[in-house]
């Protein structure tokens, strides 16, 4: 391995489920030695976060602000949220908290990558992504915008690949994703 630039980054994992946080921490621990060989040093920190709880949201924002000073470029990865948000009107209840989180994260050059399974609940009109895009365009436009730069004209993209499951090696399983990118910053 040659020519590696030193990269030291904090990673804050925010998740409501305790077992999920534990799995994530264990998986990252296994990855650390490989990253370090590439001069990538990650300080991970997994915390409880319920998007519907204003205080848990405030804790996450505080943690995020303290993680790096001066504020560096941030990337917020939001994943696999539609199952939770598309029930019991939770999307609407989460709006304030998500707005607050994204607004605090909106330093120059920050981005949000929101990944969901390619399912109707996420991608159809009226689904999760169209709801997020509506919030961005109508209420969050001073600090967020949907990225449609370059050859990307769609508000979100979809992708599909197949993988060999270790449980059933004879079969290929498909994984289909849809990805929305938001740029954060200060916009007029």
């Amino acid at each position: 391995m040659l020519f590696t630039h030193l990269l030291t980054r904090p990673l804050i994992g925010a998740e409501i489920s305790k077992p999920a946080r534990k799995y994530a921490a264990e998986m990252l621990a296994e990855l650390h030695p490989f990253w370090e060989q590439q001069a990538v040093f990650v300080r991970d920190d997994f915390i409880y976060w319920d998007v519907l709880d204003k205080l848990a949201n405030a804790d996450l924002i505080t943690r995020m602000s303290r993680a790096v000073s001066p504020p560096a470029k941030r990337i917020l990865v939001v994943a696999n949220f539609n199952g939770f948000l598309e029930q019991d009107n939770r999307r609407s209840k989460a709006e304030r908290q998500l707005e607050e989180l994204f607004r605090h994260a909106s330093t120059d050059g920050a981005i949000v990558v929101w990944i969901e399974p390619h399912m109707n609940k996420a991608t159809t009109s009226g689904g999760l992504f169209s709801g997020i895009i509506k919030w961005v365009k109508e209420g969050w436009s001073r600090f967020a915008r949907v990225n449609t730069e370059g050859e990307v004209s769609d508000p979100f993209l979809t992708s599909e690949c197949r993988f060999q499951s270790p449980l059933t090696p004879s079969q290929l399983h498909a994984v289909r994703l849809s990805v929305l990118r938001l740029d954060l910053g200060r916009y007029k």
């Binding site: 040659l2 020519f3 630039h5 030193l6 370090e36 060989q37 040093f41 790096v68 560096a72 470029k73």
Partner: protein, 585 residues
């Protein structure tokens, strides 16, 4: 394989820091080994962004030989070497400043650290010798106007460490405002000044000695005062870094000196005492005898012609490098041979050469340079310098005052070149001659070490002395020895420099080579623990080096970075900071 030619900013940074310290240079070379970093856009956008958003300052504290104390010991200069990313971001910042001459060009009375401009890749600043030559011309003109006057030299004590953070920030903000510097670069300058204040010694006021940006800050801080003094003093006023020269008659001089002291004291600087050896006076008529001391040699064979031809040869016939090295070694010549084989693979280079080879003048010029012609030039220079050095040393021994001062740079010039040219036996005898002159302390130790391979006397001098010795020893294919039984921080750094150069150092079993991170990096290259070192500079360069079976330092030092990279000759360049007259022909 075709490769991309480095951008102007990266070549300038490499050339500038090569003359400063080998560790800075190596760090930059490892950084720039990634082709994405070679572009000017990377330096301006990415490197500057990484610097603006970093949390901790990254500087390596190296010890350089400064001068001999009157009591006999050695005084070191504490250098703070910026990490590779900062060195590149700093070069981008200084390049940007060069676009605003109203704000950042020196006033006419200041000759040091003038920003390079346009396509010139020789360094972030114009070569120091140009400034010294211009200062000499300006003083000569002032002397012509006052034939019965006197010339007075004085200098400021501890110039850079005496600049406080507030003074530096005010000067920077003011000139950035005058020029209309873009906010991003204005912030970058402020960030560097702020980081200097965090990294500086508690006894110092804020600005570090070592980073290139400090030189610009130094000039900006004194800018108003330079302009005022050059207008209001009765004597003529000239400045080169911290060296101040006044030209006037006795009365003008007394009044000027008093004003000068008051003005500098008000700004927090102090001049050396009247009794200090740093201050001296000479009549204009005496001074004018040396007015041409800085003129370039008009000899058909000179050091610049030899080095120029050597570079041309290696450049156009890289496959003959080993043959040339062996021929030089057989004659006892220790000039290092850079490897240009990577450079000639650059697409840009091949296209330009294709156009050049159609020019008959060009092909004639190249054909005229051969191993035999290079050896012949080297032998002629060896004989000439040996004779001149011996004669000058003999006469200098009996001289005092200005006549002696004029001879010292001429002696140093020849001594540093003889380190590359003279045979071991001759160099050993010349070092005894040099030892008789206290002003040649540094040279005599380097000469002795290069002639004998024993580096005991060089190790305590600092990393600049170590590199000045290591490079010719490596070119000679020599092993070195040391009988030192215990390493201090300074000798450990110096020993690391020999190891970074790939030299084998026979040493006592008492000396462990794993005692410091720098030494481990020098011996083994990188490993995971060095990539996590608490010493941030070592951590950065260890990561840039990457995990390899063997260290790559020696290979990197041998390989040229770009066609416009200077042929670094450390026994000459490393003296730049120690003697402002190092370039006298």
């Amino acid at each position: 394989m075709k490769t991309i030619r480095p951008g102007i900013i990266s070549v300038r940074a490499v050339n500038q820091y090569r003359r400063r310290d080998v560790l800075s240079y190596l760090g930059l070379r490892y950084y720039l080994a990634n082709s994405a970093t070679l572009t000017d856009d990377w330096a301006r956008l990415v490197a500057s962004d990484l610097l603006l958003t970093r949390t901790d300052p990254i500087y390596f504290g190296a010890y350089h030989f400064k001068e001999c104390k009157e009591c006999g010991g050695v005084e070191h200069r504490a250098m703070s070497l910026p990490g590779p990313n900062e060195a590149l971001a700093e070069a981008a910042l200084l390049d940007e400043c060069s676009n605003y001459p109203i704000a950042f060009d020196n006033p006419p009375c200041v000759f040091s650290y003038r920003l390079n401009k346009g396509e010139n890749r020789s360094g972030v600043f114009r070569h120091y010798i140009e400034g010294l030559q211009d200062r000499q011309r300006a003083i000569a003109k002032a002397c012509d106007d006052r034939p019965n006057g006197i010339v007075l030299y004085t200098d400021l004590k501890r110039f850079y460490p005496s600049i406080s953070t507030d003074v530096a920030l005010n000067a920077w903000r003011k000139q950035a405002g005058v020029g209309g510097l873009p906010t991003r670069f204005r912030d970058l300058g402020e960030k560097i000044i702020f980081d200097h204040s965090r990294a500086c010694n508690p006894n110092d006021k804020g600005i570090l000695t070592g980073p290139m940006f400090s030189h610009l800050v130094g000039n900006l801080v004194l800018r108003e005062l330079d302009e005022k003094l050059s207008k209001c003093l009765p004597a003529r006023y000239f400045r080169y870094v911290d060296d101040i020269t006044l030209v006037g008659d006795e009365g003008e001089m007394l009044q000027s000196l008093s004003t000068l002291k008051d003005c500098f004291n008000d700004m927090g600087f102090s001049l050396h005492d009247d009794a200090s050896q740093k201050n001296f006076k000479v009549s204009v008529s005496e001074w004018l005898k040396g007015r041409d001391d800085f003129l370039k040699s008009r000899r058909p064979i000179s050091w610049p012609t030899l080095i120029g031809d050597l570079k041309k040869f290696l450049f156009f016939k890289p496959e003959k490098r080993e043959e040339l090295q062996n021929a030089f070694r057989a004659e006892g010549v220790r000039i290092p041979m850079r490897d240009y084989s990577n450079v000639v693979c650059e697409r840009d280079f091949r296209e330009r050469i294709r156009a050049f080879v159609q020019n008959p003048w060009f092909t004639r010029k190249i054909r005229g340079v051969s191993i035999a012609s290079l050896l012949s030039q080297a032998m002629w220079l060896r004989n000439t310098y040996e004779m001149e050095f011996s004669n000058l040393a003999e006469t200098t021994n009996a001289l005092q005052g200005y006549s002696r001062k004029r001879n010292i740079p001429k002696l140093r010039y020849r001594a540093s070149r003889l380190i590359y040219l003279a045979t071991d036996d001759v160099l050993a005898s010349l070092c005894l001659v040099a030892r008789e002159l206290p002003e040649l302390h540094f040279h005599s130790h380097v000469m002795k070490a290069v002639a004998s391979g024993n580096i005991d006397d060089v190790l305590p001098l600092g990393t600049n002395a170590a590199q000045a010795t290591a490079q010719p020893l490596k070119a000679a294919g020599r092993r070195c020895t040391t009988s030192i039984q215990e390493l201090s921080e300074k000798t450990e750094q110096a020993l690391s420099v020999f190891l970074l150069n790939g030299l084998t150092v026979d040493r006592s079993a008492n000396i462990s080579i794993g005692t410091s991170d720098l030494m481990r990096f020098a011996v083994s290259g990188s490993d995971i623990s060095l990539m996590k070192s608490a010493e941030q500079f070592i951590r950065e360069i260890a990561c840039l080096h990457g995990l390899t079976e063997h260290p790559r330092h020696s290979e990197i030092l041998d390989a040229a970075f770009d066609k416009d990279e200077d042929m670094a000759l450390d026994a000459i360049d490393q003296l730049q900071g120690e003697s402002s007259g190092a370039g006298i022909y």
